[in-house]
Symmetry: C2
Subunit: 217 residues, 2 copies
């Protein structure tokens, strides 16, 4: 699959690196530093390259949107149309200080994005899992017990492809239903942030969901 | 401990029964049916009784508030003052159809409750765990891996007592911090409801949170 990364910070960088290691053709774009973008692509191996947002999305089957909420308009302006693309968004609609959701309750970042991107198939995923845990989860992907990864969206085919990627990087995908469920997932993302970052235990936090009889295998 | 139950439906009934079995003096109150209230108390054993909301709270060290959000004003009107009490609230601020939160984003049910009950020590807990899983979790409480139970509140002493109860009924308590974090926990409660009730796998749903290296023991 051809995967374009819009936003090559920690989350976009880590997930894009894993996607490249899994054999997908990954194009990293949109980093504060061109040097860091090039280094990221080099470290991710032969399947990865660095380019502009527009180049990252042109031939992409799937676009990973992984910028801070305050940067969404800027990167989308550079990327051009995403109509017909699967857009897997990790974005939580955070304020600049990362302390509050700027929208919620009666809508969500994911729904706002869907309205902003007509024709794109939005899948909300990776809202509630710190980027810092990704490589460890991937390394442990063959264990019997895996962390869960909640996602939602309105297009079944796009969700199936997203679920395959979620599974490939080491999580058990958990389909929460329609895109509007992002209204609940994004606050859960905030809760995960509190639990991951507001303690001294380190950010390698994860969660597992399930029926009690299968929660632990 | 003397525990008063305001709202003896499934959640109040199940938790109150477990508290009574653990040796606490439990007073059930506020059920749609007096017959069912009496039966609940009888089935919960020698430590349990049925009474009015006012009687349930009079001598209580801790009050469990477990009514539907639409009934909160009604039961609080019957209960009288809760000043000085620990009030462990399971309430999610749901509409009558259980489909939406009626408040959120910039406040929460738990914060609203704290404003409504000056002098009470509110601990928000059991928002995101179906009542149907309680007895099975209790039965498995000696296993190495337990489900988590997220809670929050502003009074450290009250939270410590709530955490002991959460632990005693078989969950690993997870302190999310101040009461305002209920803004994130209540939507997570909605998410848990979607995952527990909107599938055909049964409502015995639970979750576990933690650092990856200890998530599975």
């Amino acid at each position: 699959m051809k995967i374009g990364i819009l936003g090559s910070g920690r989350m976009g960088g880590n997930l894009g690196t894993l996607f490249a290691q899994l054999g997908h053709a990954v194009t990293f774009s949109y980093s504060r530093s061109t040097l860091r973008l090039d280094e990221l692509a080099r470290n991710a191996g032969a399947n990865a390259r660095a380019a502009t947002p527009r180049e990252a999305v042109t031939d992409a089957d799937l676009v990973l949107l992984a910028v801070h909420w305050t940067q969404v308009e800027h990167v989308l302006g550079q990327a051009g149309s995403l109509a017909g693309k699967i857009v897997m968004s990790c974005c939580n609609p955070l304020n600049a200080e990362d302390t509050e959701l700027v929208i919620g309750h009666t809508t969500s970042g994911a729904e706002t994005l869907a309205a902003r991107l007509p024709g794109a198939h939005i899948v909300a995923a990776f809202q509630a899992t710190p980027s810092e845990v990704m490589f460890d989860v991937f390394a442990a992907r063959d264990r019997a017990l895996r962390p869960s990864l909640i996602f939602c969206g309105d297009d079944a085919g796009s969700k199936a492809i997203a679920a395959d990627l979620i599974n490939a990087v080491g999580f058990d995908p958990v389909d929460a239903g329609a895109l509007r469920i992002a209204r609940f997932i994004e606050p859960f993302g905030m809760l995960s942030g509190v639990l991951a970052y507001d303690t001294d235990q380190g950010p390698e936090w994860a969660y597992r969901f399930g029926r009690l009889d299968r929660l632990f295998g």
